[in-house]
Symmetry: C2
Subunit: 417 residues, 2 copies
Amino acid sequence: MSEIDKLVAELTARAKTASRQLAQASDTDKSAALKAAASALLSAKDEILAANDQDMANGAERGLSAAMLDRLKLDADRLASIAAAIEQVAILEDPVGQVIDSNTQPNGLVMKRVRVPIGVLGIIYESRPNVTADAAALGLRSGNAVILRGGSEAVHSNQAIHKAMVAGVEAAGLPGDAIILMPTQDRAAVGAMLRAQGQIDMIIPRGGKSLVARVQDEARVPVLAHLDGICHVYVHADADPDMAKAIVVNAKMRRTGICGAMESLLIDQDYPAASELVGALIDAGCEVRADDVLMELDARTVSANAEDWDTEYLEPVVSARAVRGVDEAVAHIARHSSGHTESIITNDQSVADQFQMQVDSAIVMHNASTQFADGGEFGLGAEIGIATGRLHARGPVALEGLTTYKWLVHGQGQVRP
Amino acid sequence: MSEIDKLVAELTARAKTASRQLAQASDTDKSAALKAAASALLSAKDEILAANDQDMANGAERGLSAAMLDRLKLDADRLASIAAAIEQVAILEDPVGQVIDSNTQPNGLVMKRVRVPIGVLGIIYESRPNVTADAAALGLRSGNAVILRGGSEAVHSNQAIHKAMVAGVEAAGLPGDAIILMPTQDRAAVGAMLRAQGQIDMIIPRGGKSLVARVQDEARVPVLAHLDGICHVYVHADADPDMAKAIVVNAKMRRTGICGAMESLLIDQDYPAASELVGALIDAGCEVRADDVLMELDARTVSANAEDWDTEYLEPVVSARAVRGVDEAVAHIARHSSGHTESIITNDQSVADQFQMQVDSAIVMHNASTQFADGGEFGLGAEIGIATGRLHARGPVALEGLTTYKWLVHGQGQVRP
C-alpha cells in the first residue's frame, strides 16, 4: 500500500465515521452548522483573501489565462456571495427522513421508503474556489460527509475556506470531518479516491472534459457525472419569429461558457424568418457555422464541417442547419446531443408534445431558453451540477440527488409462510 | 475490433433502436406484447421442454450438483409458472409517463419530472432459465430493451424461451429486438457488454459472488448489483419470546438458500429466553456457531471463528453472539452486514426506532422475518433483484427501478435575464 493509498484510506475512514454522525443529525443541527460555517467564512475574510492573493500570484506566474484567473479570483464581494450561498443552502428543506411512499400489505406489514444520506461523497473539481464551499454545504445539508479534491491553482484559497468552514461546523457541535480537504495535490490521490469502493459512496467530478473522462474511465466508485452540454434549439415552422429570435440569441449569447448554452441551431426548412434569425445571431457577435442551405441566407456565415455537429464551443460560435420537420430534428438530436438540454420553439402544441416525448435528454424545453438549465431556476435552491447520465439523478441535482433511501418494515411478529 | 466486439456493437445498436420504439410504446401495447409472449411460451411447451431435456442431459454429463440440476429443470408446471409470472408483469401499472413532481417558477416556467425508461439493460445471469423470461418481461413492461446473457448450462432452454417470447412480442407489433439473447457463450462477450458505455445503459448481474465481483470490477457501464445478504436478526431484551422464536426460526430455516435468509443472530445479554431460542434453531436442524457466552447455553453449539461473522452460509448454519444492548448490536451490524436486510425483535418502540434509524441497510425491519425481503412481499408485483448498492435504487427493485426521468419545461417565450 503506497503512502497515498494509506492517506486516502485514513481520510475515508474519518469521513465514514463523520457520515454516521451526520446521518443522525437533526435538521436544526445541520442548518445551524451551515450558518456557523458561513459566518466563520466572513470572519476569516482577511486570511482567505490573502491566501487567494497567493494563488493569483502563482497563477499569473504559471501563465494562467485571464479567464482562468477571473474564475480563481476572490474579493470581498465574491466572498460575501459564497457565504450567502451557504446561508441559502442552510434554509433549504432537509430531505433526510422524508417518507417517499408507504404501503400496507395484506399480512399487516407496513413498508415505508425513507430518505437517508448517501454517506461519503468525493468531489473532484478544478479551479473555482467557490466549489469548495458549495459542495461542502450541499453535502452537509443532506447529511453526507464530503472529501474535496480541488485544483492546484486554488490550493491556498481552498485551504483557507476549508479551515474556516470546519471551525464553524465544529463550533456548532457537528464533526469537523464532515468536510475533509485532500491535503495533497498528488494526482495519485485522485486515483485512490476513484478506487475507494465501500469507503466513498459517490464521486462527483466538476470540471472540464479531460477530468470527467479520467474519472469515468478509472472510477470503481459510482460516478454522478455531468459531461458536455451540446444543447440544441429547434425552431419549428410555426415558431413566433420574435420569440424565436429572443430565445435563440439568449440561449447562445447570454453566457457562452456555461453547459446550458445552445451549441447547435436547427431551423425548420419551412420556418419563414430563418434569414432574420441567423442575422440576429451574427449581429449579436456570434459566428454561425452553417450547412449549405443556411449559408445561402447570410454571406457572413461560414461553412460547418462534420465535427461542428458534435462540438461544445463554450464560445460565441454556433453550428446551424436546416431540417425537414420535427422528425429530422429529433433524429439529429438523437445522434449529436450530449443528453443535457434541448428546446423547441413552436406555437403548435402537438409538435411540441412530440418533441418533448421523443427527445431523450435530461431537460427538454418548449418555448424557453436553454440557459435556464440550472438548479436554482428549477426551484431546487442550489445545484451540485447537471447530471447527463441516466441513473440515480438526471438534470439539475441538488439535495434530493445527494440522498438515497432505505425501506423500513413495521411488523407485529409476521413470519413468511 | 475483435469479432466479439463487433457482434456486441451490432447487438447493442439493434437494442438501442428497439429501445427508442419501446420508449414511445403505449401501456396497452406493452401489456399486450407480454400477454402474447406468455401465450407463445405455453404454445412452445414441447420445444422448450425438449431443449431443457438437452440442457439437463448435458448438465448431468458435466457433473452438475443435484441442486444446480434442480434449478435448471423445467417441466409443464414450472413453465406454466413462468408464463403466469409474465402475465402478472403484464398487468402491473406502467411507470413510464408518470409525473413525479412539478412546480411553477415565478417567471411562469413549469418544470415537470416525468418517468422514462432507462434504455438498454444488460442482464448477466447464471443457470435458472426463468430469469430469461422474468428479466425480459420486467424490461419490456418498463419500456426498456434487454440484452440477455445467460449461463452456458441453460443455453438451449434460454434459446427456446427467447424464441417463443420474441415471436409473441413481434406478433403484438413491438420490435423483436426488444429482447436480444447473446448468441454466444464466449466469456469475451460479457467483457464487451461491461465496456459498452453509451450502448448499454445499465448492467444487472444476477448470480453468485464471483459473477457479481467480475461485473463490478470490469464494468464501465453503471451496475445495479445485489451482493451477499449477510442478514442479521437482533433479539432485544424486551422481545416477546414466542415471537422471537417464530421469527428467528423462520428467518433462518424457511429457505436457507435465499439472500434474505438470516445469517447472523445477535441476542441481547439481557434477553431472558436465549437458551430456548438457540435450542429451537438447533432443534429445527440448524448448526449454531456461537461465541463463548452463547456456547454456555447449549452443548450442541459449535465455536464460531472470526470469519463466521462475515459469512453468507446459504445453508442451515448461523453465527450467533451475545451483545450488550442496541448500541452494540448496531455497531456489530455496521461492521459485518452486507447492507441487505436486518431485523430487530422487541416490544420497546423507542429501541426499535433507534435501530431502524441507525442501521444503514437497504431494508430494516421491526418484528418481522428477514425472509420477507422480496419485491412481491413489498407490493412491487415482481422484482429483478434486491439492490445492495446505495445509488439509483435500493432494496427490492421492480419496474420503477428500471426507469429514470427527464425534466419537461413548459415556457411561453422566457429568456434568462
